[in-house]
């Protein structure tokens, strides 16, 4: 299994702040789903921002989709980001655009035709269960619906890697479970997924590896790889 994310001995310190990562290392394979856990402030978001090239690494090596993040030029970053989907706790939907227009943004950027955009956006909205809300504005959606719209926007352009930072942080348990099942569905069809969460109760019994961040270091907790697909299928 080729590595989609190769994170090797990365150390990161914020300006005049604490060292957030200390020679942290882990790998995410192609088509793999992994959870990133740790206490608040443990560096989960920093790690995802490094992988998404939202923050420059200070030391260590990060390769994502076979590209060395440290060596990316500023002009190369947009093309890199177009290969991945990023979801935050706050889905950052644009208030003055409809759900359809929000989800369509990545396709508009890529210059897809109107018909293609319509087809893909409706496909993504159908996948997250929001097909009936395409004309709604974000303010009229519930927190869970907004998060699902954010997920639809992240996956509509068919990324190879999906990064999610506390995607269930603002959701009730039922909604959180639904969102997590969405990620599992996308993983089932080949998308590599890395989800940062502190909702241990939600992921404890899921058949995926967990990278636990503590004191800037990563501790990998393996899942039963052989049983994983069967369990995931059952859960979905």
């Amino acid at each position: 299994m080729a590595d989609v994310v190769f994170f090797h001995r990365v150390t990161q310190r914020y300006y005049k702040g604490p060292q957030i990562l200390r020679e942290a290392s882990f790998r995410l394979g192609e088509g793999e789903m992994m959870f990133l856990t740790g206490a608040s402030g443990s560096g989960k978001s920093t790690l995802l921002r490094l992988i998404g090239s939202l923050t420059r690494p200070q030391t260590g090596q990060i390769a994502v989709l076979s590209q060395n993040i440290s060596q990316l030029r500023r002009s190369e970053i947009p093309a890199f980001r177009r290969q991945i989907g990023i979801i935050f706790q706050n889905p950052s939907l644009l208030a003055e655009r409809t759900v359809f227009d929000n989800v369509a943004l990545p396709l508009v950027i890529r210059g897809h035709s109107g018909a293609d955009i319509g087809r893909r956006v409706r496909g993504a909205l159908d996948a997250v269960g929001l097909l009936n809300k395409e004309k709604a504005f974000p303010i009229t959606l519930s927190g869970g619906e907004q998060q699902r719209a954010g997920i639809a926007r992240a996956v509509v352009a068919t990324p190879k890697l999906l990064l999610a930072d506390e995607p269930t942080g603002n959701l009730d348990p039922e909604m959180a479970r639904e969102v997590m099942q969405l990620f599992m569905r996308f993983n089932q069809i080949g998308v590599s997924v890395l989800v940062a969460t502190h909702a241990l109760g939600l992921i404890r019994h899921l058949p995926y590896r967990i990278a636990h961040l503590e004191n800037g270091r990563i501790d990998i907790q393996s899942a039963d790889d052989a049983a994983a697909p069967a369990i995931a299928e059952k859960l979905i």
């Binding site: 897809h112 893909r120 069809i189």
Partner: protein, 321 residues
């Protein structure tokens, strides 16, 4: 699951061609910019009015200069030379010379003012009537006023004037063109000043548009942040703002032309009266087609420059959070 599969399997669909992408990107950017300008009409018109006023000033000055130039050219048609004859020239010789000059090619008319006529006119107009009677001799020379043919080429008129000055009977010649030359010199100077003022005002337009676009960028901070997060290149984010700058420049140019045309219309009647007094070209000319092109060109270029300046300065400061 099948919907998710459809979403992901779309990866294999054919990518749009480069041309269709460019066309779509630009049409979307133009449509977005137009919507933005129309959505806040008062703010758009106020900004465009300031730009229009700034463009109208040099355009108006240029129009004034062009009109003065035309007036100068038409006054050149009424150019006259006053030939003051030597005291030794007898009245008969003066009459003969006047007849000869009147028949010369390139001369429209010539008029002899004898010494007696000159003294009489001077007495009537100077107010020294009785005082002049005390003079033993008439100090005024006989004068021939030569008016060149208006239709003759300028070079021929110049050559004629130079020849007249060198005639043996002529003591001194005074060409009416001196003040005209001074007018042209002043116009040249003013033209240079207008160029400097236009450059300064052009800078002002860039600053006005740049600042307006900066505020637009600030009001779209969240949108830009999301765009960058999902991989929009700077050119994609920049494009609508550049079109907005072009829009401001375009509307400003329209207003500038309208302002100059309005002022020209207002001044047409008094200018007509003034031109009559000077026997000059009667019509007040508005903006020339080249000047209209210049105003539109300047508006568009300055609008684009202002927007590009603002976007270059502020876009990189906004990053996904």
């Amino acid at each position: 699951m099948s919907a998710a599969k459809n979403t992901v399997s779309a990866r294999a669909t054919k990518a749009p061609s480069w041309w269709s992408r460019v066309l779509q990107d630009h049409s979307r950017a133009i449509s977005g910019s137009f919507t933005q300008l129309v959505q806040k009409p008062i703010a758009t018109l106020l900004t465009a009015f300031v730009i229009g006023l700034t463009l109208a000033l040099p355009a108006g000055l240029d129009t004034v200069l062009r009109n003065l130039d035309i007036v100068g050219d038409s006054l050149q048609g009424s150019l006259r030379a006053s030939l003051f004859l030597k005291d030794s020239v007898t009245p008969e010789q003066a009459q003969d010379l006047n007849r000869v000059l009147g028949k010369r090619p390139g001369v429209a008319s010539s008029r002899l003012i004898t010494r007696e006529q000159a003294l009489q006119e001077f007495k009537e107009h100077s107010g020294f009537g009785e005082a002049l009677d005390l003079l033993k001799d008439n100090p005024l020379p006989a004068t021939i006023v030569v008016t060149p043919d208006h239709h003759a080429p300028e070079a021929q008129t110049d050559a004629l004037m130079k020849e007249l000055v060198k005639l043996p009977e002529v003591e001194q010649a005074q060409l009416d063109e001196k003040w005209l030359q001074r007018l042209y010199a002043i116009l040249d100077l003013v033209q240079q000043a207008v160029a400097v003022v236009a450059a300064a005002l052009g800078l002002a337009v860039i600053i006005v548009i740049g600042n307006t676009i900066r505020l637009d960028i600030e009001s779209h901070r969240e949108e830009i942040s999301v765009m960058k997060l999902i991989g929009a290149p700077d050119s994609f984010i920049r494009r609508p703002f550049l079109y907005t700058g072009l829009g401001y420049g375009l509307i400003g140019a329209v207003l500038a032309c309208a302002m100059v045309a309005g002022v020209a219309l207002l001044l047409a009647s008094p200018a007509h009266q003034l031109a009559d007094l000077y026997d000059a070209a009667p019509a007040l000319h508005g903006l020339a087609p080249q000047a209209v092109g210049g105003v539109f060109g300047a508006g568009l270029v300055l609008g684009w420059l202002g927007a590009y300046w603002a976007v270059s300065r502020h876009l990189h400061l906004i990053q996904p959070t």
